[in-house]
Amino acid sequence: MDLKELKALLRLMEGNDVEELEVEEGGRRIRIRRRSGQVLTPPAAMIPVPPTGTSGTVISSPLPPTAAALEAAGLIPLESPMVGTFYRAPAPGAEPYVKEGDVVQKGTAVCIIEAMKLMNEIESEVKGRIARIMVENGQPVEFGQTLFLIEPA
């Protein structure tokens, strides 16, 4: 399933006012859940699952958490303040700024977002532990996209 097909599914859901849709195709399963309200959550990432095998059980892949789920879990999202390319380390080959599990302070640099050939260091706004890194090294990011989930201290 490629992005085009995914978008077609989303349009289908919206056009028919469908809240949730699950599709399985050749070992890949995707579940899309729409949230009513103004801001769309980004479409669920395509996470491949292992083939079902003889037992017939399928392991469903985790959806990226909604804002409500995050708050319930007590995790604070660090959202991108700009549009650009996300890098985990200050330079290619260098050590990443943070790993999952690291403790950060308010103001600790956690990543770089490159925009218009400028490298911008992004700082944590809270003190806590990096619970999850939500994007991959070199991935383009948009304004407001969740980069990290932080468990506040």
């Binding site: 103004q38 769309l40 700009m82 549009v83 925009a115 218009m116 990011v141 948009e142 304004f143 407001g144």
Partner: protein
Amino acid sequence: MFSKVLIANRGEIAVRIIRACRELGIRTVAVFSQADADALHVQLADEAVCIGPPQPAQSYLQVPRIISAAEITGAEAIHPGYGFLAENPQFAEVCENCGIQFIGPPASSIQMMGDKAAARRMAARSGVPILPGTEYPVRELEEARRAAREIGYPVMIKASLGGGGKGLRVVTTPEALESALATAAAEAAAAFGDARVYLERFLSDPRHVEIQILMDHHGQGIHLPERDCSIQRRHQKLVEEAPSPALTDSLRQAMGQAALRVARAAGYRNAGTVEFLLDERGDFFFMEMNTRIQVEHPVTEMVTGLDLVKAQIRIAAGEPLPIAQEEVRLVGHSLECRINAEDPDRFLPSPGRVTNFRPPGGPGVRVDSHAYVGYIVPPYYDSLLAKLIVHGRDRDEAIARMQRALDEMLIQGVQTTIPFHQKVLRHPDFIAGRTSTRFLERLLQEQ
């Protein structure tokens, strides 16, 4: 030809541009604020990048984020639409510096035409008639008094860096000049960041007639049949038509050639519009040049058969003009009504959820809109919701068609100006072609 274009705009014009790109086989990138996540242009584009919170200054005017969005998606060109950054010379220049093709004129032309007093001087030097007025902005009161005496009252005070109908004051007597200068300058400073104003003779009841021009990167230029945009409220156009009921073919040619002279003097490229005022005697005077595609471009498309947005993209990609001057055709008559999400009596914005949207159809009817059932009209942007455009074999048929289409059009959930347009289209002066820039003022007073 470009393989990917980013549209630095929203609403109906973003949809328009995406449609043109689609037909040219170009992949599209939409940018959107957090208030536009469900917008039609986002749904239709191949890719979409969020560029900020709802406020325009934090999103659609954010040059670095838009350029960055082009870079991360690999867009080779940016179409700025109208409004927002479309006439921002710094933005055009940043695009040039970053190796991204700006689909529009060179930054220098935008800059030149953005200074309205300088544009007047350029028109005069090109042998194009201008209204009596000051050559440069007035520096102090005595100079303004002398100039106003020479020009003859009534005079219009205009912001030098103005546009969009802002920073204008009419002064009918010498006693009113001083305070009018002060308020006009203050408004200009607030709206455009520059308090400079110039003076021009005020015509009491002119028509607003504008000429669409196209210039390619190979030195060729054509002028297209005019648009009459006299029906305005507070300098905002509400109904436009092509051609103008007032023009003869010889006047059309004279104005067209004048428009091209101004454009050439500005080193212009791509699509642009030269605005004139036409007085009762048929004398025309240069007003300003708009260095962008305009809201009302569809009426020109309907009578010429040309796709102006595709022409813009092709010109920017280095292709020559679609036709030569002698191939330009004027067929039939076209009207456009700008349907705004506003209270039809007081013209106050009416944001909210569109619960029903039933556009009209049938022969000669075109609707350019970003609305759909369930769309939430955000309060942060202009209130244009749909453009209803008709074409007929002559003005009478176009009027009957527009009346029919307006009656058929249904938008519920938000208030719209459809009832207002229905009144205009049934007004005897409109039907007789007796329209001028004061038509609307008189109609509104009649109520």
